[in-house]
Symmetry: C2
Subunit: 657 residues, 2 copies
């Protein structure tokens, strides 16, 4: 049982003291040259030893159970090697502090196993060099979006009411958690950069530097979201044209000043020409022009620009069925392949729309082989229950990362990085829902190893968060988490059709909520059928943005996977799915099933009461009541909506209102 | 052409200087005793004379064109008598200042006609003694509702950001406009009384007194919305139970203190047990108990409590078709008839729902013959275009006031008062849309004479606002205003079904926006039909709340008026209406017609360009573009929605998306 939230009011999440027992009860020697990250490692071991009676020292020779062997501090190498003879000691070797730190957290995951038996030399290195968490935190409280845009875990841990919070201890504890799951970069403000937030780049850069100092101690580089209009709004220039010499000079100088105070600054994140944000289109320039200008400013200092590919027409006319938001990112960016600078990273959402519970993998990811590319996932649960519902996304993310857009190479190998939108706030559990911690942990670990089995990652999270958990708790946590994403899918928007949420806040059902909106998010349900025709033959042609291996599959309703069939096709309610059910009966069945699964999960959780710390158990139990209420509302509204439209009764005669 | 908005930034509305020319260019004598209101009249005449060369004096004897004859200041008598011999002078006689003031404004309406020919003695007295305008103004800016709840004309003229505005000139100008159309009472804060607003009753009463001083000069009494929980939140008591002696004492004392500073204070307005506001239900007491407690506190001082009958379950389950919000006010209040104190007024919305463009007249109005009753209208256009659409409501209000619930007595005679929710803010035109001024004027005049022909009231408004208007302007204004309510009805929610608006702000269409909500506002459209069965035979029984003369009419779809048929019946799309069209074809036809009418109105307005002051013309022209855009959006969404559901094509083959 993990301890209750400690007196400082912050949950230890996957780093509770007890997780350090195997390490802290042994004798450790650190060999090699020190440096700040090695000091961090030393401090971690020393604190564990103080608690559990072990010892830690520098140098070699003495008898010990663990050797941490480090060549020096310098370098970006994050790899480490683990080896152990049958009679010990366990040895972790790294070329620098970064690798050593990752090795330390690897030891925690191994637990007692790290000190038993024999380990053949194992080299561990991250598959993706960029493993970044983006905070959509505002400095000012936004009148609509609040302190954290799409945040469901309280306020920001960085900012409050226009000011920096100045809580270094909390930021440091956060950096430690992120490092422990493999994240090495953080953007500290929202990609929608408002007036106050823009100034973080210039006169308020000191506040960013204070955060960077905490993240640096755990090997994490700090990034900043900037507005493309900065030369105008901050610099007083008449233009932000990326090819204008004065503009380029302004960015160069602004960037130099950033590096004066944050020497290891990671770079910029930019949302341009998207949902009202300014961008290069205003000057007749391409997004490559825009990104490259910032890349040029960052290059001398080793920084990177993350340029988001989330560009589409958000003032669409619902009457116009030829415009397809799903096509937009590909249409905008695929032609630019090869034009981006080496230190520009195109940041692409995993699906073509916006983090729905089910989307096809974005064809953009396979369309720019000569461009550095990061896949963006949404750890914060905007469309997946807003951290009031249990919805563990590891399974979904893993499917995306293992998807082979060209039939051969998985997404995890096409990408240079993985970016998550943070689900963290100033809530004592960090993530509001205590079980949503599993999403953050899983994100980090999949960024380190996109091919990992997500259930094994969940094993790790369970073992760390609940050290010594009895089998009943382990299997209980798997029971409520493993299938939670598919349960959520079942009781919400069916067959890949997406949206159907309440406008604005996006919580809870509204089948027609976005149907007549300007946002490009339609399902076109009428009395005969539902879905979006995105085929090349008769629809918007989106299906043809895929390589042939998938274009053919998606083009035909007969071969399209059921779970995406309404994303690609407008089908009659009586259409027979590959699974053997009709569209309408599938809608009814999955919605009844989804609620039944939530009920079962709630009951499973209730049965774990004696195995989970009471306040944590109580919070989850309470949230399950809301999840169940909400799931029933989804079921009833979606079923009633389609019953009223189709007139087809449920084959099993269940009650539809 | 009225002058542009004057340098003080406030439009003179229906009291432009030129409207005073007939009066101001003549010789006036005021006979009788003075007093504050007589002083006001004297000041008005003197200012007009200063501008137009006439004269005004006290006493009798001298040759003159106009005699204002007043017996004294005292009393509530608002009547006056007008008489004129063929060779003059015109004489207005009143027993006090109130009547004299009304007589003065009557002379303005008569214009030159007041001083020509012969007038047989005419006694003018208001049909309704209570003619009140309720401001839903907040003192603090409400995080959702803003400074003025459902306000579409800028900020409040009384409050800003938690403070009193202290703009006596503006309030006085406002009082003058209200008096000129016959209003004699104003409530200065929102019926939803939040924390800060509650304190207007006690430590902030001075701010109310300052407003009352301005209103008093034009014969208008000031009222205050109070929270039923005041004894708890302001008085520190443990209860607000209306039968508790301490509570009653607290209200008595609080009220005495109010009258200490506002001797002619009008009384309280209370929204209790409604949409989250506290009320007597919490203590197992009736609404009569609640109202009578406040009535008892006010009685010694001559005050009145306005108790709103807007009580219903706003946490309804859309799955439950037996609960009917339309029934609620009758079910709650009809059994209480005879129990209310003489100085308690039950304030009843004109329809059973909430100010939709078309509702039946509320049966509550005829159900409490032994209770004083005020009918509440919404001058602010929450559901009728939010002062971006031209929607003159005089026709609708007149139909309500002339409706005979018992087959004999019109509503205007059943009621003791008429209350309007104000459409005024700090906009230079007072009402945002310059033509929305006509709604405020018409409201006041119909309160004075509920039997008046609303088109004649519009004539008055046109003549006063545009003194000397050429025929083309008069007929143009009639053309754009007269039918605007019916046009709005045509392009929005059909056949009395109501709602279908965007949730929250209520602007623009969302056919299913309130369909699965807890607010009790449903249309139950499915692939076969639409509407709410409120019959006694098979529905909620609401129709039986009417006297037999109407219950029979509404009970059968064959006799129910078309414009209300979906309010009372759920009908197949193919049902033949009394007008000869099917339900679905009626929906299509009216929506195409409604947009065509807006287009025509816009063009008519454009043709008036040379006849209307340019900035006023430009503002209305600009608003017409938005109205037309919005009307098209309504047309297309509603038509598409019902086409998708019914599958019935338009008989005329027009484009439905």
């Amino acid at each position: 049982m993990p301890p209750p939230v400690p007196p400082d009011g912050i949950d230890p999440a996957w780093l509770p003291p007890a997780a350090f027992r195997p390490l802290g009860s042994r004798r450790t020697l650190i060999r090699g040259r020190g440096g700040p990250l090695v000091e961090t490692v030393y401090g971690e071991v020393a604190e564990a030893c103080a608690r559990f009676g072990g010892s830690v020292g520098w140098g070699g020779g003495a008898a010990c159970d663990l050797v941490l062997d480090v060549a020096g501090e310098a370098g970006d190498d994050e790899s480490f090697t683990l080896v152990r003879d049958a009679d010990g000691p366990t040895t972790v070797t790294a070329s620098g502090g970064r690798g050593l730190l990752h090795g330390l957290f690897h030891l925690l995951r191994l637990g007692e196993g790290a000190f038993r038996g024999r380990w053949e030399p194992e080299v561990h290195r991250p598959a993706l060099p960029l493993r970044m968490l983006d905070h959509w935190d505002n400095v000012d409280v936004h009148p609509v979006m609040g302190q954290v845009e799409r945040g469901y875990a309280g306020g920001s841990i960085f900012w409050v009411d226009g000011r920096a919070r100045h809580e270094p201890q909390r930021v440091r504890a956060y950096a430690r958690l992120l490092a422990a799951c493999g994240i090495n970069a953080v953007a500290v403000n929202n990609v929608n950069v408002h007036e106050t937030e823009a100034r973080l780049l210039t006169d308020r850069i000191g506040e960013v530097a204070a955060l960077a100092a905490q993240f640096r101690a755990y090997g994490i580089r700090t990034h900043l979201s900037v507005t493309f209009a900065a030369p105008i709004v901050l610099g007083g220039l008449a233009t932000a044209d990326p090819l204008d010499a004065e503009v380029r000079e302004w960015w160069g100088e602004a960037t130099r000043r950033v590096y004066d105070v944050i020497p290891d600054f990671g770079g910029y994140v930019v949302k341009a020409d998207s949902e009202g944000q300014p961008g290069p289109f205003a000057y007749g320039r391409s997004h490559a022009d825009g990104a490259n200008m910032l890349a040029a400013a960052l290059a001398p200092h080793g920084g990177t620009v993350h340029w988001r590919a989330f560009v589409y027409d958000h003032r669409q006319d619902w009457r116009d069925r030829s415009t397809d938001r799903a096509r937009a990112a590909y249409d905008h960016f695929a032609p630019l392949d090869g034009e981006f600078a080496a230190n520009a990273v195109l940041q692409v959402k995993h699906g073509p729309m916006d983090f729905q519970v089910r989307e096809p993998v974005s064809p953009v990811i396979g369309a720019l082989p000569r461009t550095r590319l990061a896949v963006e996932l949404q750890v914060t649960q905007e469309y997946t229950g807003q951290q009031r519902h249990v919805c563990w996304l590891g399974q979904m993310w893993s499917e995306v990362l293992r998807f082979r857009l060209d039939g051969e190479t998985p997404v995890g190998q096409l990408a240079d990085g993985l970016v998550g939108v943070s689900n963290v706030g100033d809530d004592p559990y960090w993530t509001g829902h205590p079980l949503a911690q599993a999403n953050l942990y899983t994100f980090g670990r999949l960024a380190w190893d996109p091919g990992a089995d997500p259930r094994r990652v969940l094993d790790e999270w369970i073992a760390l968060t609940h050290p010594g958990a009895p089998d009943a708790l382990v299997s209980g946590l798997h029971a409520v988490l493993d299938g939670s994403w598919r349960s959520y899918e079942k009781y919400t928007a069916p067959l890949g059709v997406g949206f159907m949420v309440q406008p604005g806040h996006h919580y809870g059902p509204s089948v027609d909520g976005y149907e007549y909106s300007p946002w490009g998010t339609y399902h076109f349900a009428d009395r005969d059928g539902v879905g979006v025709d995105r085929t090349a033959a008769t629809g918007t042609g989106y299906a043809a943005q895929y390589a042939k291996v998938w274009a053919d599959v998606y083009e035909s309703a007969a071969s399209c996977p059921d779970e995406l069939v309404l994303f690609f096709h407008h089908l009659p309610y009586g259409h027979l799915l590959r699974g053997g059910s009709t569209v309408i009966q599938h809608i009814y069945d999955t919605h009844f099933d989804g609620v039944a699964e939530v009920t079962a999960a709630r009951d499973t959780w209730a049965s774990l009461r004696d195995l989970v710390e009471p306040s944590r158990h109580a919070r989850v139990a309470e949230l399950y009541e809301e999840q169940l209420r909400s799931a029933r509302e989804w079921r009833d509204q979606v079923n009633s909506y389609f019953f009223r439209k189709s007139g087809v009764p449920d084959a099993h005669g269940r009650r539809i209102h």
